[in-house]
């Protein structure tokens, strides 16, 4: 009898404390629930019950029901939290659910689930995401504007150039007038030369797009510098690959003119396994020592390697610079 009384006293004390704790938890603005190791709730406050009820339509019986319900809720793309799942309640408030494991004095583990009101934080993150989208759009508009300004500048330059050419034309006319009408005994050859040069400027249509052929350009420059160039094999037609090969030719030409004192360059182009190879030779004096890569060759190597290619240099018995590049989309034209 005494034992039963003692048991009831202890029970009353225990439940009294339990109810006091439960009551205190119910006053919290956050949702709180503790689950035992089997996943059953041992202590849950009113807010958590309300949230789970709204989420699932029934009372909380097991932690997996809560987890499954949260998994089914679509999550925000913008509010990022590593350990929180979100739930938007009907009243517009947004709740963040997190789980942690707590251990009591006796060593038993409990899973503590807390639901905190993150409505304001969520709204701010949505606003920030919206602002980021706007900034991204603005940035892309600015980038477009920057591209346009290049073309705009080009057009302005063309206009300015045309005006200057017209001014030159005007000067020619005035010079002619003074020569013929004014009886000026100026230099007739000079007059003709001025007219010839001015008219030469008009020999192509102004405004036509600048579509220079880089290989032709290179060959003309080489010829003007006293070097003939022979190309053997199909030269790549895609501009990026062609540019890189011409850069290599230009590097060789500089060395040929400045050091090797030759007057002819051979470029042999071959293709295999989706790669283009250009072997560049010349008739100049081969280097007396192995080549030490300086600024020009080293920056050429960097350019070629950035494009996925490679450069090899043979110094003797003849100098050969070989460039191998992945074949571009347009491939190569037959020569």
């Amino acid at each position: 009898m005494k034992d039963l009384f003692s048991f009831l006293r202890r029970a009353q004390s225990y439940f009294g404390r339990f109810l006091a704790v439960k009551e205190a938890l119910d006053t919290l603005p956050a949702g709180v629930c503790f689950f035992n190791e089997s996943g059953f709730p041992v202590l849950c406050n009113r807010r958590m019950y309300q949230l789970v009820q709204e989420m699932t339509g029934y009372d909380l019986q097991h932690i997996d029901e809560l987890r499954n319900a949260l998994d089914a809720v679509p999550q925000s793309l913008h509010y990022e939290s590593a350990d929180e799942r979100l739930f938007s309640a009907r009243d517009g408030r947004v709740w963040g659910f997190s789980e942690t494991v707590v251990t009591d004095e006796s060593g038993a583990d409990y899973t503590q689930v807390i639901a905190r009101d993150i409505t304001q934080l969520y709204a701010l993150s949505e606003q920030a995401a919206q602002r980021n989208r706007e900034l991204q759009e603005m940035l892309s508009q600015i980038q477009d504007a920057a591209k346009n300004v290049v073309e705009m500048t080009r057009q302005e330059e063309i206009l300015d150039a045309k005006m200057r050419i017209h001014a030159k034309m005007g000067s020619c006319i005035l010079y002619s007038k003074s020569y013929y009408v004014g009886g000026d005994a100026g230099d007739k050859d000079m007059l003709l030369s001025v007219w010839e040069d001015t008219l030469r400027v008009f020999d192509e249509e102004i405004g036509q797009k600048d579509d220079t052929d880089i290989l032709e350009d290179f060959t003309r420059v080489a010829n003007n510098c006293g070097v003939s160039v022979a190309i053997e094999g199909p030269f790549p037609t895609d501009r990026a690959t062609a540019n890189l090969i011409v850069s290599a030719q230009r590097e060789c030409l500089t060395n040929l003119i400045a050091h090797a004192r030759g007057d002819h360059m051979d470029v042999s182009i071959s293709r295999s396994d989706g790669r283009v190879t250009a072997a560049i030779r010349n008739n100049g004096t081969p280097p007396s020592e192995p080549i030490t890569e300086g600024g020009g060759l080293s920056s050429l190597r960097k350019k070629i390697e950035r494009a996925g290619g490679r450069v090899t240099v043979q110094s003797r018995p003849v100098f050969i610079l070989t460039v191998t590049l992945p074949e571009g989309e347009k491939g190569a034209e037959s020569s």
Binding site: I142, A145, V150, T153, E156, I214, D217, G226
Partner: protein
């Protein structure tokens, strides 16, 4: 006779320069008009050019300032006039550092190119006294302080305060203050409007950021 080489990626500009050169046939002879700065180095190696009219932005992202530095290092006797149609406030400084003998703004110069060619070919140097003072919203470029100009120059390239601060080795808050002051001076309502304005005013030469 002075052998002149023209380097400009725009065919019509090349034509205008050719016309300039043709106006003085007794003094200047055109060697060639090329679109890439690196071709100029070949002519220099071959000893074919005495004077180069060098654009900053040339074909295939070839930078005329870099080419000028290389040419002046290897062939110091070759005279170079750097030209541009941009209002980049630092272009003249870059050209001077690269060793260019003269500098000529294509659009905003009160001196004819031929005059600059004469001065340069005669062993002299001609640089405009001031940068082009372009309008900038309610203000003008000259009304910005040196620090504000630096920030405005980097704004279209780096966009954020943090990135600009890192470039200039100053505090992010200082960048913010400069931008606020520039906005007030120019009458722009936003950073984006300011960037658009600086682009429209051609303050930054495309591709020049790579050198910074």
């Amino acid at each position: 006779m002075i052998n002149v080489l023209v380097v400009d990626d725009e065919r019509n500009i090349r034509k205008a320069f050719i016309a300039d050169i043709a106006a003085r046939p007794e003094k200047y002879r055109l060697v060639d008009a090329v679109s890439e700065a690196s071709s100029a180095e070949l002519y220099c190696a071959a000893g074919k050019a005495d004077l180069i009219i060098m654009d900053i932005n040339t074909a295939n992202f070839d930078n005329g300032i870099d080419a000028t530095a290389r040419i002046k290092r290897r062939y110091p006797g070759v005279k170079i006039i750097v030209t541009t149609s941009y209002n980049d406030p630092y272009a003249m400084d870059h050209a001077r550092r690269a060793g260019a003998d003269s500098f000529w703004y294509k659009d905003a110069s009160d001196v004819e190119l031929l005059e600059v060619m004469d001065i340069t070919a005669g062993g002299g140097s001609w640089y405009p006294e001031n940068r082009p003072d372009v309008p900038l919203g309610l203000s003008r470029l000259s009304e910005l302080t040196a620090a504000q100009l630096e920030v405005l120059y980097l704004l279209p390239q780096y966009f954020s305060n943090a990135a600009i601060a890192q470039q200039l080795h100053i505090a992010e808050g200082t960048v913010k203050t400069h931008i606020r002051d520039i906005l007030t001076k120019t009458g722009c309502h936003s950073r984006a409007q300011l960037i658009a304005l600086s682009i429209r005013s051609k303050l930054v030469i495309p591709g020049s950021e790579a050198e910074e």
